[in-house]
Amino acid sequence: MDAILLQLLNGLDKGGAYALIALGLTLAFGTLGIVNFAHGALFMLGAFCAVTFNKFLTISKSVKDESITFFDAYKEVPYLEIWWGDTGAAIIDYAVPLSILFAIPVMLLIGWALERGLIQYFYKRTHASQILFTFGLAIVIQEIIRHIFGANPIPTPAPEIVSGSANIGLYLGLGENIIYPWWRLIYFSFSIIVITAVFAFLKFTTFGMVVRAGIQNREMVGMLGINIERRFTIVFSLSAVVAGVAGVMYAPIVPPDFHLGMDFLVLTFVVVVVGGMGSLPGAVAAGFLLGVLQSFAAMNEVKEILPGIDQIIIYLVAVVVLLVRPRGLMGVKGVFED
């Protein structure tokens, strides 16, 4: 029982990441009709926003180390600590959550630039050429990051206070064996908040209404005199932001390196297909579902029966779902049906 609950928890944070990326991907699919293979790269860019912000905060100056008296020793002290003392240190400690504030405008800008500069010319092209173009774009983004940050993963610590583990079992009265890192718990809650925010935005604002109408029938919305193209630019930027903040918060879980995006991209595509192309709730549900399934498949008990199942479970589920329910779990009729 404990083990099952623990695996469930383990799946949730990964599922959260899948759901967030899949959400952005589906937004771009449903509205713009773009199959964006560069979406994983946007997630990776988000993670590197956190890295950059962290580096930026810890720009240091060498200062004479007073604690060592018998020779001249120097240590690196960040400017923030020199200027503001403990407050500065606290800011550095909270670099990752704070970098969301930095990542949102950056990702908005990147999304806008990509859509206006490149993607908009591909609305009328075939899906194959969209896939290929964005595939090339993903490689380019990834290589730029490698050129700047190198090929090694860069550890980006979470704030001190949440770096430990939570004894969830004790809080819920289920025994003491269910221990779970705080940050993963935070990631899960964070993903729920972002998902809720996106859904609320689409549901309760006029802008969201237009976008939803656009998903259903793009031509009709255009005929009603709404400049749907411009809204779509904003939607693309929004999807970039969602991927970006997902990446920022994921940085403490897995130290980001340049092919983080590619690793996630393939999985997320599968997630989107399982959930149903163009269905936002489907993308979210499938994200969590596959995340949890993956962590269950990683249990030793399961692996003993079916060795290697943890490596392929997601793809296996995708194959079965596509064959049994071609439209995906919650697929929308008329979206991406050839």
């Binding site: 490149l118 090339g136 774009l137 490689i139 290589e143 490596q311 991406f336």
Partner: protein, 395 residues
């Protein structure tokens, strides 16, 4: 008069399969000579040209003819390589059984994958093939380590049984090398063997392109529904095309192992599938020679670009003042050496954006433009002798 006659005959000749094959064979087999001025006349890269040529020709049968974009062909390449190496380990160092087995094995894989994936089309097909390839890749790295030897890659060992070889001779000192009835298959002979194989499979693909089967595939690409209304069940045709192209990929994998008996899982990664897609597109999808051209361009520049280092760049830009030299070096180093992938990605974007028909189409377009330009000029100088009349427009 004579010129017109020659032109017609030349056109007829160029349509003749035998003539095409003779010219093609000569061009391929003399590669070591005419590649000399480009600095690519050494066996290692020549082998790559022809082996990846086989891969791309096969991929073109699927993608070029039917328009189905598969992201899973690297899996067949990997399966072919593993099968070939196992054949070297268990049976014999002769490459013939290895190649035959790798084609059969990848064919079986292709039937399995195609049977499932071809139930859907469009982007779903791409993702299903991608899923299959990733499954193969992940399994090769984890559970199947006894078969694939995981990250190290499958290698020959002295203690391998090699049943058939043992019937004829005792195990020699050191590792045996791959042979074709006593001919070494590395170096130039490896190139010639692969080249002959490529010429044969090119002939097969030529036949497919000109057959009624090929026409049906093209019809599927242009309008699958119409084919169905006409009473064709399209799936068997698609499956055949998929299996053929999978077998080509397996053959390429087998040849890779035959020239260098090593097989690693990284050959199966989906980025490897991306590379063959790029080669096919760069050259010209759906054309006979396009994919080969793409292979040569990519492999050639990969070879050159990835070998350049900072020192070379500094000497290249040394005529500029130092500050400019440094700036140019730092910009260029993005694209060479380790940054070759960046060039590849940019190339991908540029080709898809501006030249979706590939280099071959680009060449045709420029040729057309040039000829119209020349004829216009001639018309101008020749006065008004060849004025367009309305009559011709009816043609």
């Amino acid at each position: 008069m004579l010129r017109g006659f020659l032109k017609i005959n030349m056109k007829k000749l160029l349509k003749n399969n035998l003539v095409i094959m003779i010219i093609f064979s000569v061009v391929v087999l003399t590669m070591p000579i005419w590649m000399q001025p480009f600095g690519a006349a050494y066996p290692d890269i020549l082998q790559k040209f022809v082996i990846f040529g086989v891969f791309a020709i096969g991929y073109n049968i699927l993608f070029g003819l039917t328009g189905y974009l598969s992201f899973g062909h690297a899996a067949f390449l990997g399966v072919g390589s593993y099968t070939a190496v196992w054949s070297f380990k268990l049976l014999t160092m002769n490459i013939i059984p290895a190649i035959i087995l790798s084609v059969i094995m990848s064919g079986i894989f292709a039937v399995l994958m195609g049977y499932v994936a071809l139930r859907r089309s469009g982007i779903y097909f791409s993702i299903l093939t991608l899923a299959f390839a990733q499954m193969c890749y992940n399994l090769a790295y984890s559970v199947l380590t006894p078969i694939t030897n995981g990250e190290t890659g499958l290698q020959l060992a002295k203690s391998d049984p090699r049943v058939i070889d043992r019937l004829f001779s005792e195990a020699g000192e050191g590792l045996p090398s791959t042979t074709l009835f006593g001919i070494e298959t590395s170096g130039y002979s490896g190139f010639y063997i692969s080249a002959v194989v490529m010429i044969i499979v090119f002939y097969i693909s030529l036949k497919i392109f000109n057959s009624s089967f090929g026409l049906k595939l093209k019809a599927i690409k242009s309008n699958q529904n119409r084919m169905r209304y006409l009473g064709f069940n399209t799936r068997p045709y698609l499956l055949t095309a998929f299996v053929i192209s999978g077998m080509y990929a397996g053959l390429a994998g087998g040849l890779l192992a035959a020239t260098d008996p090593l097989a690693g899982a990284e050959r199966m990664q989906w980025t490897a599938s991306g590379e063959v897609i790029l080669m096919t597109i760069l050259g010209g999808v759906g054309t006979l020679f396009g994919p080969l051209l793409g292979v040569i361009i990519i492999k050639y520049f990969e070879n050159i670009f990835s070998a350049i280092n900072q020192l070379d760049l500094h000497s290249f830009y040394s005529i500029f003042p130092t500050w400019l030299e440094n700036a140019m070096v730092s910009i260029s180093s993005l694209f060479v050496g380790e940054g070759w992938h960046m060039t590849l990605g940019l190339l991908f974007m540029l080709v898809v954006a501006f030249l979706p028909g590939g280099v071959l189409e680009g060449m045709q377009l420029t040729y057309k433009k040039l000829t119209t330009y020349v004829s216009k000029k001639r018309n101008k100088t020749g006065g008004e002798s060849k004025k367009e009349t309305g009559v011709n427009h009816g043609k």
